[in-house]
């Protein structure tokens, strides 16, 4: 415990991941569910950077994965918020339980 190593950072990212999972399971509001997904993606990014730094310092692959995940998360958030705004216009609510337009 004298130096911050890989396991410390992995503990941090594991706890952050399950905070995100808890939020995703309890919230019933689409915007807050999106926030939980952002937390989950960020914990994965921390993992990639930590593995890159402590285990595979001779390569930059973890860095590239992190950059691509951040890019894809931005695209995902943009599309998700467009869908949420459209749903709000047609439904006047963004609760997941009210979104049953595609129910057969």
């Amino acid at each position: 415990m004298n130096e911050i190593g890989l396991t410390h950072i992995l503990f941090l990212s594991a706890i952050l991941f399950f905070i995100g999972v808890y939020g995703f399971l309890t919230r019933r509001n689409m915007v807050t569910m999106l926030m939980s997904i952002e937390l989950i993606l960020n914990s994965v990014n921390i993992n990639f950077v930590a593995f890159n730094k402590f285990l595979h310092a001779g390569k930059l692959d973890g860095t590239f994965f992190t950059i691509f995940i951040i890019t894809i998360a931005a695209a995902e958030a943009a599309v998700a918020i467009a869908i949420i705004i459209h749903l709000y216009r047609s439904n006047k609510s963004i609760d997941v339980n009210d979104a049953d337009l595609m129910k057969f």
Binding site: N2, E3, I4, L6, T7, H8, I9, L10, F11, L12, A14, I15, L16, F17, F18, I19, V21, Y22, G23, L25, T26, R27, R28, N29, V31, T32, M35, L39, N42, N45, I46, V49, A50, L55, H56, A57, G58, K59, L60, T63, F64, T66, I67, I70, T71, A73, A74, A75, E76, A77, A78, V79, I81, A82, I84, I85, H86, Y88, R89, D95
Partner: protein
Amino acid sequence: MSASIVIFYILAAIILGGGILAVTAKKIFRSAIYLLFSLMGIAGLYFYLNYEFIAAVQIVVYIGGIVVLIIFSIFLTHASGKDMEKPKLMSVIVSAVAAVFACAIVISLINNYSFVATTNTAIEPTVKNIGRQMLSTTEHGFILPFEVVSMLLLAALIGSIVIALKPKTEA
């Protein structure tokens, strides 16, 4: 206790505290602000690990882009001063138990696993090295994913404009 350890624990407290408050806050706007603090702590963690470029990307894209987008969508869809609907007690208990047990399993696995580091000489994650490798067309270059991701961003841009357009009122 050296300064480095203290800084790590402060960053961890910011990240986890912000995360917990973001998923439990009663008002949605506060939830977004706590998320902002958590993401800022993660950017600090990247600075702590000497990944300056990733930290800068994290600040620009997450804090400057995604959180602002989320706050705008809150303004468009909520009366943001009101409390949100509380989750059901049963669902809180079940989710908390599931998350805590899964977290305990993962932590015990990490604790018992012995990681083996490479002995190769380290490449510094500077902007120069990252840019050289990302745009190189040789064996370990990332030019193809780079181009694919740029197409994905264009598609997401057009798609979100089309989805969020006001439907034409029928005359």
